[in-house]
Subunit: 207 residues, 2 copies
């Protein structure tokens, strides 16, 4: 039966149901709102187990956003899903270079993915950035390489690509590194998850 509920109450009720379904699971209070928002966006409780947070990753992400950092993502879908109103009020913007015609041309010429070229472009941005990767493991691998070379110092990497080829491995590279990170271990993730993590951080600053 359809429940009568006011539009503004739907999200609150959803979170209450998620909390109920999580039962007596002990979530780290610092990470709880991120985990619950990812479950809210996927209805997939696997994320209660597979989200890996480096120490104080949430707090570091929130601090970077408060400081006006930008967000770089690897899909137009994640860009569409991130709350750009709040990000803009904080002084940040979202970049996605994936659809730029010159990125496609360069990727084709070099025989590499557009995601790698996009991350190389992103590394040249002059501002502190959070990287929210929801699709391309090659983006994570490229970020890792650039960090190893000392060319890049992300404020936070949200590493949640989804899929079957190099996805698991690329995430482990980030988990094993010293960069602040929030990673969905395993195959699961996606643009929706990347956007949900960003929004969970943004909503802790303002709504």
């Amino acid at each position: 039966m359809i429940e009568q509920i006011k539009p503004m109450d739907i999200e609150k009720r959803s979170f209450a149901i998620i909390t109920e379904l999580l039962g007596d699971r002990n979530l780290d209070p610092e990470n709880e709102l991120v985990i619950k928002r990812v479950i809210h966006t996927s209805a997939d409780f696997d994320y209660a187990d597979n989200l890996v947070f480096s120490p104080h990753a949430v707090q570091k992400g929130i601090e970077a956003l408060r400081g006006g950092c930008d967000i770089v993502t690897d899909t137009q879908m994640a860009k569409a899903g991130i709350n750009k109103t709040i990000l803009g009020k904080l002084g940040g913007e979202v970049h996605c270079f994936m659809s730029d015609p010159d990125v496609a041309a360069e990727a084709k010429e070099r025989g590499i993915t557009r995601a790698i070229v996009s991350m190389e472009r992103a590394a040249k941005l002059k501002k502190p950035c959070i990287f929210a990767i929801g699709n391309a493991p090659t983006a994570l691998i490229s970020l890792h390489e650039q960090m190893e070379k000392g060319l890049l110092h992300p404020a936070l990497i949200i590493g949640v690509p989804v899929g079957f080829v190099n996805v698991v491995e690329s995430k482990e590279l980030i988990i094993d590194s010293s960069v602040p990170h929030i990673v969905a271990r395993g195959r699961k993730g996606g643009s929706n998850v990347a956007a949900a993590v960003c929004n969970a951080l943004l909503y802790q600053i303002m709504r």
Copy 2:
């Protein structure tokens, strides 16, 4: 270990892995590419069980797209994810009314969701439409009401909202109706799933 693979081969390899992991499951050949693309976008094999297809829904969707139909969706994320190049070549476009300022104003005034107002607008489009609903159960409920009144005759409903309040129930309304549909039974779904189903239909026409 990171596998060396050409960008153009990644998707092919992913689908081969998905096929392998599905094992000896018998998927209906007509629905197979939709199911596999949804798994490809989510890494969630639950979709092998929970996608419900009305008779020849895939074929009907493909025919509508070939005929130049439009797609209406309830999120900017799904709009971002749908392959608009192919859709455009076929003569169609994607509509999402959710962010229109007058939709927000009308929803607030009437105390209903923006999704309902968006679907009422969509019902006034003069072209045949596929509805791809990845977020709002109220969109599905509104479509159902308008169909019951004879005001709306969708070419296909892709009913894949995600969540915890009225989501399951809204999908059952569509499954029980006579409209051609592809529905993710249960709580799971999302904008990524909605876009993946659209693209699975489009890619069967051209790539």
